[in-house]
């Protein structure tokens, strides 16, 4: 019995690999031929040394040359706190660089090496590439400060696993950037790697490697890069001196389209952190009254979402739209009762 089970298990493990390992693998591996490309890319990635050097705040990072005149893009981090940073090129040349401007929403900072007509190698942002799940990529970064002086930074290989919105945190703080990112199957986001390059195998820039963050849902470390499409425009504007910080976006979390009273519900006063969502009274003739909500009902679910407290209820009702059908589950005495009510057309009716 054992042997067949093992055999089956082996097949099971093999099968999904056979599925994912489909046509995209046809791209050539970085063979001897592409090592020159790799060397050319390494020359466009710089080591940054700045503020930090205390526990979990490394005093080193990575940056990308994006103009022949020494414009460098990197992640807007504590490294730049002093305004001046030290840049070490692939060939060991050292420069001072100044912080020009940053885009907080994109976690982006642009630096400039002092001096003109530097004729440095650089990533042409117009010649960047898009990637999709399955694209083979290389990650270039100064991770762990392995490289010093004229040593080139480290290169790792991987595959874009997904393109998704970033939902991550550092410690208790949410990530500044919440836009789309490439999730990579290799460990690209190490200490000092932020600001590194994610490229295709033929050396075209795909994105900028982000910080060391953990996924808010799973608590696992996220290896991600911000797509260049998100960064190209602000970088160009900062370099051109035209950059204006974006209008603050309406805060999705604080939306308040409807509140309980709009539906005719008077909830018990919200006195503690998790006040149970008990209905104190129902406005006669209101949608809630029509649906059959009663005094002292405890609202347990709204649209299948668990209502832990008055506060959760407030958040959920804030997001609903006119004309929605709201599915409620309330606890009445010892029974759960399902109710449906229609969200009124206009707020306050």
């Amino acid at each position: 019995m054992r042997a067949p089970v093992r055999f089956l298990a082996a097949l099971l493990i093999a099968s999904p690999l056979a599925l994912t390992g489909r046509p995209r693998v046809c791209e050539a591996a970085p063979s001897t031929a592409s090592l020159d490309t790799l060397d050319a890319t390494l020359a466009k990635v710089v080591k940054i040394f700045g503020s930090g050097g205390v526990r979990n705040l490394e005093g080193y990072g990575t940056g990308l040359l994006v103009s022949p005149n020494g414009h460098i893009v990197t992640v807007w981090s504590h490294l730049l706190d002093s305004g001046d940073v030290s840049i070490v090129l692939n060939d060991g040349r050292r420069y001072n660089a100044k912080f020009i401007k940053g885009d907080p929403a994109r976690d982006l900072a642009v630096l400039k090496i002092e001096g003109d007509n530097l004729e440095l190698p650089y990533f042409d942002l117009r010649d960047s590439a898009d990637a999709s799940p399955g694209t083979r990529v290389l990650g270039f970064s100064n991770m762990f400060k392995v490289a010093t002086g004229d040593e080139p930074v480290s290169v790792v290989h991987g595959v874009v696993a997904a393109r998704a919105r970033l939902s991550a945190r550092r410690g208790a703080f949410g990530a500044a950037y919440e836009g789309p990112v490439y999730i990579v199957d290799a460990v690209t986001n190490n200490p000092g790697a932020a600001g590194g390059a994610l490229t295709t195998l033929d050396g075209r820039l795909v994105g900028m490697i982000g910080r060391e963050l953990r996924n808010t849902e799973s608590n696992t470390w996220v290896n991600y890069a911000v797509p260049l499409t998100q960064l190209r425009e602000p970088i160009a504007e900062i370099i051109a001196g035209r950059y204006k910080p974006p209008e603050p976006r309406p805060d999705e979390a604080n939306l308040q389209r409807f509140s309980a009273i709009d539906l005719g519900l008077v909830m018990v006063p919200d006195v503690v952190y998790r006040t149970p969502a008990y209905v104190e009274s129902v406005v006669p003739g209101s949608p809630a009254a029509k649906a059959g909500v009663g005094t002292e009902d405890l609202i347990v679910f709204v649209n299948d979402e668990l209502v832990q407290s008055n506060r959760t209820l407030k958040t959920i009702l804030g997001r609903i739209e006119s004309g929605d059908t709201l599915r409620l589950v309330v606890r009445r005495k010892e029974k759960l009762v399902s109710l449906e009510l229609r969200v009124p057309d206009h707020r306050g009716k």
């Binding site: 067949p4 089956l8 099971l12 046509p23 693998v25 050292r94 991770m143 490289a147 040593e151 080139p152």
Partner: protein, 592 residues
């Protein structure tokens, strides 16, 4: 069980047709590449060793390099054990014994026994490796393989010539290879192969941050070219040391690498190197950073002679310097001293790496590197001893300064065998040599049991052996003492000296000829004897009257036949930076 089987079948049914149809779409080149990888790994698997310590539930990996069972692993995998159990992919567990260790370089050589013809890895050239090259890592991560089938991971080279600082320890990874292939605890000591399946490194270290001791995309392998330099030393059974220039370097404000401090008793100082000289190249490699200097230095064993180019006031000078030992002799022998030796206090005992090394077994088992020997429970040691077969115990001999003195004896007799070709010098009390010098002047040299003398150019030089060894003739570095050392070696071999040990291999005078080196000591006089690796013959020796003096360097340009004996017929004598003399021996007579 049945239910699980049912679930398996269900999922399988879902995947099966898919897998078949998709497989047909895979590009032929991809399938060829896969086949090539599978074939390469299949070829490599038999050479990979799962190493288990006997005294602790810990271990790592290794790789076989000779058919008679020599295998490389990490020093931190060997720990403080002398005997090991080693699993191979044939599913069998073999006994193994420690041969030699390089604590600074984190390398250990062990020898497996119990098989006639072990499979071996092919040596590659780690200097030819470039960032972006594909590599295979084979080994026993997390000590997973109960059947000793190694785990294979695949990745690219992330960087070459990397320098990894010692982490509160003497372990230092210089000139190492950085890879993104998954390297984890238990992979330590295992092989790194290039795409062609050639051995290019020994994996031993990983970078980890806050994520726990697992791979984070940066593993480090000791380059195989470095290990090649140390292999002779490892086979000698010694605790081998790395080298120091006797000088430290730093970066000046212009970015040049300059000498910041130098020991006056170092060979580098005697060859003319001074503070503030700019290091241009070292061992043929240009030096642009302190790390590069350390990288180059780290790949050489002590005593090697290496070319160094420095610049002073715009002018370049090339010298050849003899490297000193990096650590004090006592420091090294502490790592080897057998159980019952009295031990000095060891406040500065090197600590184990507390950071990136991944040597240990799964589930946070006891750190294998550091059960301090003297504090180790003797009962454990005795139990370990009693587990070991008599046959294996015969392959181990403790001696301070050695990991396993037994193997020194093996190598010593192999090398001394090279003297047999010169004929039977045994028990001959002395000789008389005569001939002419390079200038055509006649000379006569007497080597007897009581004195050595040289007559040439109307002068007579004398060294009596009941007097202190002298630099006689002056400026030769002690030619008469040196020639007497040769007489002693030829007539009494190892019985002539206070100690005579096999040291290892090195390129003679930093050139191309590889030699086996013996080191002898008699009173205050040390000699190093050079035997050609190619033909086993003695090609020269250095005799040093004191530790920090330049040696009298004697090289044999030709060997001649003299009445049934062979003896050098052309002898070149050098001292310091210059040639002292050349002697052409025309007659060799035995002296009663």
């Amino acid at each position: 069980m049945l239910r699980r089987l049912g679930a398996c079948l269900f999922v399988l049914a879902a995947c099966w047709p898919f897998a078949i149809t998709q497989a047909d779409e895979v590009d032929a080149a991809v399938r060829d590449a896969e086949r090539a990888r599978v074939a390469t790994i299949a070829k490599l698997v038999p050479t990979v060793v799962a190493v288990f310590q006997r005294s602790a539930p810990a271990g790592g990996s290794g790789v076989l390099i000779t058919h008679d069972g020599y295998a490389l692993t990490n020093f931190h995998v060997a720990g403080e054990d002398q005997f090991f159990k080693c699993g191979l992919s044939d599913g069998k567990l073999y006994d193994a014994v420690l041969v030699g260790v390089d604590p600074t370089g984190d390398v250990a050589l062990i020898k497996l026994v119990g098989r006639e013809n072990f499979p071996t890895a092919t040596w590659g050239d780690s200097d030819a490796v470039r960032a972006g090259d594909w590599v295979y890592v084979l080994g026993n991560p997390f000590l997973l393989a109960a059947d000793f089938q190694p785990t294979a991971t695949y990745g690219i080279v992330s960087g070459v010539h990397r320098y990894q600082y010692p982490a509160n320890t003497i372990l230092e990874y210089t000139d190492c290879l950085q890879v993104d292939a998954s390297v984890n605890p238990g992979n330590s000591g295992g092989p790194l192969f290039n795409a062609a399946g050639e051995l290019i490194g020994i994996n031993g270290r990983i970078s980890v941050a806050q994520r726990g001791r697992v791979n984070a995309g940066a593993g480090y392998a000791i380059s195989i070219n470095q290990i090649r330099n140390f292999l002779g030393g490892l086979r000698s059974g010694r605790v081998i040391d790395h080298a120091s220039l006797g000088a430290t370097v730093s970066r000046d404000s212009h970015g040049a690498i300059i000498v910041s401090q130098i020991l006056e008793e170092s060979d580098a100082f005697r060859r003319g190197l001074r503070v503030d000289d700019e290091i241009v190249s070292f061992a043929g490699r240009p030096i642009h950073s302190v790390n590069q200097f350390k990288n180059v230095l780290g790949i050489f064993p002590e005593e090697w002679k290496v070319a160094l180019v420095y610049r002073r006031e715009g002018e370049k000078h090339e010298i050849r310097v003899r490297l000193r030992s990096l650590h004090a002799k006592l420091e090294m022998s502490e790592m080897s001293a057998p159980e019952d030796q009295p031990q000095p206090d060891r406040p500065s005992r090197p600590r184990p790496p507390n950071r990136p090394e991944p040597p240990q077994g799964p589930k946070g088992k006891k750190d294998p590197r550091r059960p301090p020997r003297r504090q180790r429970d003797r009962a454990v040691a005795r139990r370990q001893e009693s587990d070991v077969s008599e046959k294996l115990k015969a392959l181990y001999k403790a001696k301070p300064g050695f990991a396993n003195y037994y193997f020194n004896g093996i190598e010593l007799s192999r090398v001394l065998h090279g003297l047999d070709a010169w004929g039977d010098f045994y028990s001959r009390p002395g000789f008389q040599l005569s001939g002419e010098t390079a200038t055509g002047a006649p000379f006569e040299c007497i080597l007897s049991g009581n004195f050595a003398s040289l007559q040439t150019g109307g002068k007579t030089y004398l060294q009596q052996f009941d007097q202190d060894p002298q630099d006689e003739p002056q400026g030769s570095g002690g030619l008469l003492v040196a020639l007497n050392q040769l007489r002693l070696l030829l007539t009494q071999r190892d019985k002539a000296f206070g100690s005579l040990v096999y040291f290892g291999t090195e390129p003679l005078d930093g050139g191309n000829e590889q030699v086996d080196v013996l080191e002898s000591n008699l009173g205050s006089v040390d000699s190093r004897w050079y035997f050609s690796v190619a033909n086993g013959g003695l090609v020269g020796f250095d005799t040093r009257l004191s530790d920090d003096a330049d040696a009298c360097e004697i090289r044999f340009r030709e060997i001649g036949a003299f009445e049934g004996l062979h003896f050098p017929s052309e002898i070149v004598v050098r001292h310091g930076d210059r040639e002292y003399a050349i002697f052409r021996v025309l007659h060799l007579k035995e002296r009663k």
